[in-house]
Symmetry: C3
């Protein structure tokens, strides 16, 4: 599906659930699919109850018909394993497969993502089903990918998980002494003398809110354990299928900045990354850009699949407005602009019952192709047909990376203090937004990523330094890299234990400062950042009280008892520089500050453009593909910086030529050398 020799174009299609309809629907749907240019469907996402009507019995007859019909019609299939919701009979017979909530509430049958990830019964039958599917359909050459389960997520707190957690802890810590130390259990006398004294951290034990724990150590480990437990479910299905169809790529659909799962760990076991893009109504386009870049970064920049998006409305938001004309196409190309090699929807045909019946679809309840939404999809389908094998396989490259780490996210937001407004994504997004407005490609990377391709690495709120990660950063800067980090960084190690000896802990040498105190400002209150040249910006959220050691001042505070003390610093370290931004600020600061940082390392905009025009670039061998997307509500002028071929319009633009790009319109340009 991605980097698959059989696939010669951007795949176009999405989730298809014919089992919700009479069998005859296949024929009608196929006509409409062809009209719309659909060439791939994700099949069999929620069919477990149909495929296994009882513990002893399997029935693939309906799926066989669907698979045969699709194959006969040259439709590619992304075949799901149907294990994201167990059958009702299984819940009745084996109630231990049901999850227990954070509140301690034991669930009954219902919903989806409803299986305890440590249930051996669940895993036995999930793997068996995956195996049977692989065996049965291995010869269908129209299968372009396996899709394991669906949107893995949630947490379970049942007794089975409690026992599995203790085993996980023994593997991690070997001795209780090590565990007691890592969790600092001498605080409040929580010392454990036997493994089975440990209970799951939830509202019944160490938590008083979802994100507030009395012992961060256990909560952090439970977050890791939960992510690992789900991953183990994925892996068991993965291995079963791989054994049978080693040549078919395997994925599962991820969900962007989804907190419960450490996708950096997951991506290692995915043949390619795929994900579901459901922005909130009021997300700016940068937010989607950031999501795409995170997803792309999971596999070191390889193309990914946009597995789901809605053709028009969602149904689960407070107010589900229509995607305005052009927006679906615009956002589809935005995915491609950030590295996707597919454009797929949830869903092909709109359900008539249950909770997603008002979620948009290619084929609406009216059942025809005569809708605005269908017609917009049809136009896009035709464009993708025309584009052919252009673009696919090309990659986004960047000289700038933002570090993002799940452990850091979890630990930061489990802690009480210094401010409840301190949210990891929010701070990362401030840096991302300011970078995106410089019209450059941006990578989002994890702690395992090689830093050498980058000239600038930004790690907002790098609260946790795991192991020797500071040495990797030092090496990067020493070799000439530029590094930016912020307030509340370097505070703890991988156990969320504070590094003593002065903040920012292990980053102190690299940054050349000592942070003595941290002041929290309530929303609406601000201090000032006074730059050495006199420019003034706001200082918000937290204000670190900084002592210079080897660093120099970039900005000082403008007010309060620490007025005049350092607020932003820079430290020359080897051939590079390490910046410390001691407070949060407004967009204006981040744009100006990052602009100067980029200039210093001579990273230039891809092109100079008006506000609201997004630009990215993908590379394949010698070819450069440039994407320009007009997110504005009005047309914008573009002056070309070189000669380009317009891949959608088949025309050529001269250098210096000016184009008036319509609202919501898109340019796919190929440099014409």
């Amino acid at each position: 599906m991605i980097n698959d020799e059989k696939v010669k174009k951007i795949l176009f299609g999405g989730d298809y659930n014919p089992e919700q309809w009479p069998e005859e629907i296949l024929e009608e749907d196929m006509k409409l699919f062809k009209k719309a240019g659909v060439d791939v469907v994700t099949l069999n996402v929620f069919n477990w109850a149909m495929l296994q009507p009882s513990e002893e019995e399997y029935d693939f007859s309906r799926l066989d018909k669907e698979m045969d019909y699709l194959k006969a019609n040259n439709m590619k299939v992304c075949l799901a394993t149907s294990t994201a919701a167990h059958p009702a009979w299984m819940a009745k017979k084996y109630p231990e497969i049901l999850r227990t909530e954070f509140s301690g509430m034991r669930r009954k049958f219902g919903g989806r993502h409803n299986s305890c990830p440590n249930s051996l019964v669940y895993k036995k039958y999930a793997v068996r089903l995956a195996t049977k599917l692989a065996e049965r359909y291995k010869h269908y050459d129209n299968i372009v990918a396996w899709h394991i389960s669906n949107e893995f997520g949630g947490k379970c707190y049942c007794d089975t998980c409690e026992k599995a957690f203790r085993v996980w802890l023994q593997n991690r810590y070997k001795t209780l002494e090590a565990l007691n130390k890592a969790w600092n259990t001498s605080f409040w006398g929580h010392t454990f003398y036997a493994w089975d004294e440990i209970v799951v951290p939830n509202l019944q034990s160490e938590h008083f809110e979802w994100e507030r724990s009395m012992f961060q150590g256990i909560s952090l480990d439970y977050a890791r354990f939960s992510s690992d437990s789900m991953l183990e479910c994925y892996k068991e299905e993965y291995e079963a299928i791989k054994r049978i169809t080693p040549e078919i790529q395997i994925t599962t659909n991820l969900m962007g900045f989804y907190k419960e799962l450490d996708y950096h760990k997951w991506a290692k076991y995915m043949d390619f990354v795929s994900w579901d893009n459901y922005p909130s109504t009021d997300d700016p386009y940068y937010k989607m850009g950031m999501d795409h870049d995170l997803m792309r970064g999971l596999k070191d920049g390889l193309p990914f699949a946009l597995m789901e998006q809605t053709p028009s409305v969602t149904n689960w938001q407070p107010y589900n407005n229509l995607k305005r004309p052009g927006v679906m196409r615009l956002w589809s190309y935005q995915a491609v602009a950030h590295g996707s090699d597919t454009i797929m929807y949830f869903q092909m045909r709109r359900s008539i019952g249950a909770c997603e019946k008002y979620h948009g679809a290619l084929i609406d309840h009216v059942g025809t192709g005569e809708t605005r939404v269908f017609k917009e999809c049809e136009v896009l389908g035709a464009e993708l047909e025309k584009l052919g094998d252009e673009i696919i396989g090309s990659v986004v490259k960047s000289k700038v990376a933002i570090l993002f780490d799940w452990d850091n996210w979890w630990a930061l937001e489990y802690s009480a203090g210094p401010s409840k407004e301190l949210r990891y994504i929010k701070e990362v997004f401030k840096y991302y937004t300011a970078l995106a407005k410089q019209n450059i490609n941006i990578d989002i990377i994890g702690v395992d990523a090689d830093l050498s391709p980058y000239q600038l690495v930004i790690a907002p709120v790098l609260y946790m330094i795991k192991g020797d990660y500071h040495k990797k950063l030092e090496e990067f800067v020493r070799a000439g890299g530029q590094f930016i980090t912020t307030f509340f960084s370097g505070i703890v190690d991988e156990h969320d234990l504070v590094t003593i000896g002065g903040y920012p802990g292990k980053l102190r040498e690299l940054l050349g400062i000592w942070v003595e105190e941290i002041d929290a400002l309530p929303p609406g209150e601000a201090n000032k950042l006074v730059m050495t040249d006199g420019r003034i910006y706001s200082a918000e959220l937290l204000c670190d009280l900084i002592h210079l050691e080897t660093a120099e001042v970039v900005a000082v505070y403008g007010e309060d008892f620490y007025a005049g003390t350092p607020a932003v610093t820079v430290n020359h370290f080897g051939k590079g520089k390490a910046w410390y931004v001691g407070s949060s600020s407004s967009e204006e600061f981040f744009i100006d500050f990052l602009k100067e940082c980029l200039e210093e390392v001579e990273i230039k905009p891809i092109m100079t453009l008006s506000e609201g025009l997004e630009i990215t670039r993908r590379y394949k061998a010698e070819i450069e593909y440039t994407f320009i997307l007009n997110h504005n509500k009005e047309a914008k002028e573009i002056t070309f910086d070189q000669e380009y071929v317009d891949l959608l319009r088949d025309i050529t633009y001269k250098k210096g030529e000016v184009l008036n790009l319509s609202a919501k319109d898109v340019l796919l340009l190929k440099a014409n050398d």
Copy 2:
């Protein structure tokens, strides 16, 4: 009590709990009752523990004394069965009678409305108590009604209910295949292969919020089942009593727009409707009017009983302000104006302990008749005495009906999308308010009601078309009726399954339109309704994107990409017309729009009056009773349209005469022909 030959005037009194006091209180209370003109008390509402101190033992001695004393004093009695709260000993001995909450929390003894409606133990002893009461007091000819339990309500989710639900489902669906289809269980693979795989839909299973379900089908059926289960409790007591005292009417006190119970089903088993009127502090008077009209409509317009209202303060609102002088009288007559034949209070004497001790009463904690509240009641009591048999038995008649349906309410608000602001009552209230301001009588009817008496039927957000209800509407319009419905109508059938083939589904032919898409506007955002004559109103909440088929345009949208497309339409159908209002709007629109609709069918105001004066009319044989209520804080002038006798003041007004009606004052007029 209602339509009872023994009752020759508007009954006046209320809930009386002498068992909370020493026996001697009876004498003192009787003096005060007589002073105030009280002639009826509701007795024995919460005495189960007193009447049955243990499983083996009954003790009616105290109640006997009360009944005898009341009879001796010519006081009428509405005799309750005391089954709205079980005794503590029963909860200890048979814990299965306790309810389980929506959260799955099993309750302990406490509160009221605390019995599982499917508990055989509860029902056995409830019916036995009702039977004993009927046997014991059948010869008391001062009993004017039986009052079963009290304010039935709530839901239970216990194991007993779960089992009973499965039986209910088998009766409804016969086969699992039919059930699976009705609930669309193929979605997410929830197919049931055995009845006992089905569990109650609550937070442990299909719900993630009180009103948000992952499977609307099961939740909707559970709402029906719960209402039916409670009704079964009522019916079992009803039948036991009826067998013994067939001549005494039986009721239970309802609660207006109470969501949990489908009162249209209940009313079939009630000899007359009675209800408790507890408006919120900031409810406009139309809201109470709408409540009364709903209650009256349950028994096709028969007079009903105002069973409870507070003489002054409530205690359960955030801020319990005093009813200002005159307001209690005003609201009492408002009930009569809308069809009540009683004026009753909760309560006669204020409790000294437990949660209602700060709820108002005729006799306050001071224990005398020397309070403002008592004196206002006394004035009212004297007026009712004087009115005698005027008014009682007369009925409100209307040419306009608003359709209201519990299934529609439930289904609409269980669904996710398109807007969480879409609330059934709120939309109904917009139409009701605009009609009420036209100074006409209004009926509120259910789907079983005969439409032939009406010239105009309005069905706001008729989301669900059950069975062939659309044919009934078509017939009504074809015969010359005017029908108005709105956005998000005709969407689903009785199982909440979408009617495919284009919205508004089964109403498409009647309305002559196809709704292609539905746009949701967040609060604060609005489009425009541009009428064909150029007038402009706001378009809010939802905007349906409409294609005309046989209908004509009444208004188009003023903005956004669907500017100029139809927003309000009218379809000529047979001899009548069917209007579709594709968006919500502000009061101004509804008033103007409905005014024109009424003019078209020549429905005229009862009288032309200033703002804040309410008018209704009741009819008895040849007599017309006109009620004018001044809800304003100041006096208002009234110019009489004909000659009237003022029943409260014993004077006559000439046609054209002008009266200055004081703030909060009331006119009961009899046409003087």
Copy 3:
């Protein structure tokens, strides 16, 4: 520690947890302690798991070393018993020691304050540990106090508590008849016929919110029972220790206006009161003053210990800002100014893990004495050294008392009506603030306190009159005292049963009024208080509708239907006066009104000062110590009313001399006669 002959100065130190660190930390800490002037540490607060690693085994080796080291270094010790958090092994072996929440949720191991107070297992081992500690360390003459458990609090609703509650009720009521009457169980037929029909009042039974109960009687008794149950835990440890070390004083750290525990009952069993002062970020300084005065009043004005405060930040508030320079010293002296004889912190060294790792400490994570916070502590330590035995043992005396009663607090806020905005502390605080602004000492007393020392007693919202307390008030006024009470007073007896015969019930004769009705005003709405001389203030929250009996009018309402009726009254009673303030109001009213009341009894300000300067006075034999604290952000001038010695600066101020006291600075003055 307090009134202890061994203690010759204000003790300075705080909570110390060396067990969270390597043993070597002791030496380093001791150096820093000495540098800072620390002379006392609270030790062993959370060591149960360390001291008793299993049911059979105790291990004091580490504590021995610490005790020896501290003794050798002349460090005083406040020795805690470590029973505020049980070990994990105990929870595993005896799960019945775990608490059950208000929701009915049974807890697992975790947190602190986690033991069921009625668990015999918990109490057995808690007392055993306390006994062993007392035996082992009884000869350490540096122990200046025992510190039992830590911040007792919370509630448990488990089966053990349910059974214990029934026993407690039998002791209280003797018969079920008495209980049924006290709880008014005839309401809703909740009559109990056997003690074991009674269940704990929580969300599963009589409560629908934390503070809203359907039966106030049972909820009120459960509040008393819970406080008593915890107190019993305290007392059992107290008695065990007292037997062994009769000469060492015993305390536990209280928490100011902590609702769950009736500290007036507790204080009887405490050798001295100690408490933890953690104001919210936006508390005005009066709020802390009121807390201190409440705490002092628990032991009739004896000096108390400030057991905990943070040297700088807290970590649990939404936004944890730094204590600005000078604030820690200011607030420390404020405690002394209100009667404390210690200045202590939580904590000596900042933890590196778990939920308090971002809570401030004397020694920060940097581990040195080179921080602003340490240095401010050092300055304070030196001052206290210099002050020596001045001040300690002196007492605050007042002629004005505010009555505060836990039963009143509980009963008032369990009731529904008349307004949810009616909060006891809030109303008390209005009176306290206005008094504090008169620059006088204020006592806060309970119902057991002798009233004879006072000229003015204020009892805001004295909702509950327990037993004959009204007679005590009558006697006080008859003898010449002035008494002020407010709306919603005298309503109920000790069972929360309304006193019938007219509000304010038992206070009616003393106040000479009858309150007929109570009107509730929503926030933002106000009536007017029109004083007899024409001044106008706002009337808020509640407006009592008052009839004069023997009282005179002080103010009438200005608006609404009760305009012109009495709002504030005064009744001459014996040689004194009793005032009734029938509504709440703004600060302006309270300041003016109380000023006049004080003038009438000739209570004069200690000194006349600018806004934001706080003044109190302590007395020891012939000596007067005056404290002036500048809470402003700027310097303020003080003109001395007599000659004083400045104890911190060693200078003398003449009468009439003017001093410019810096922002946040403090004066400790000794009258120079």
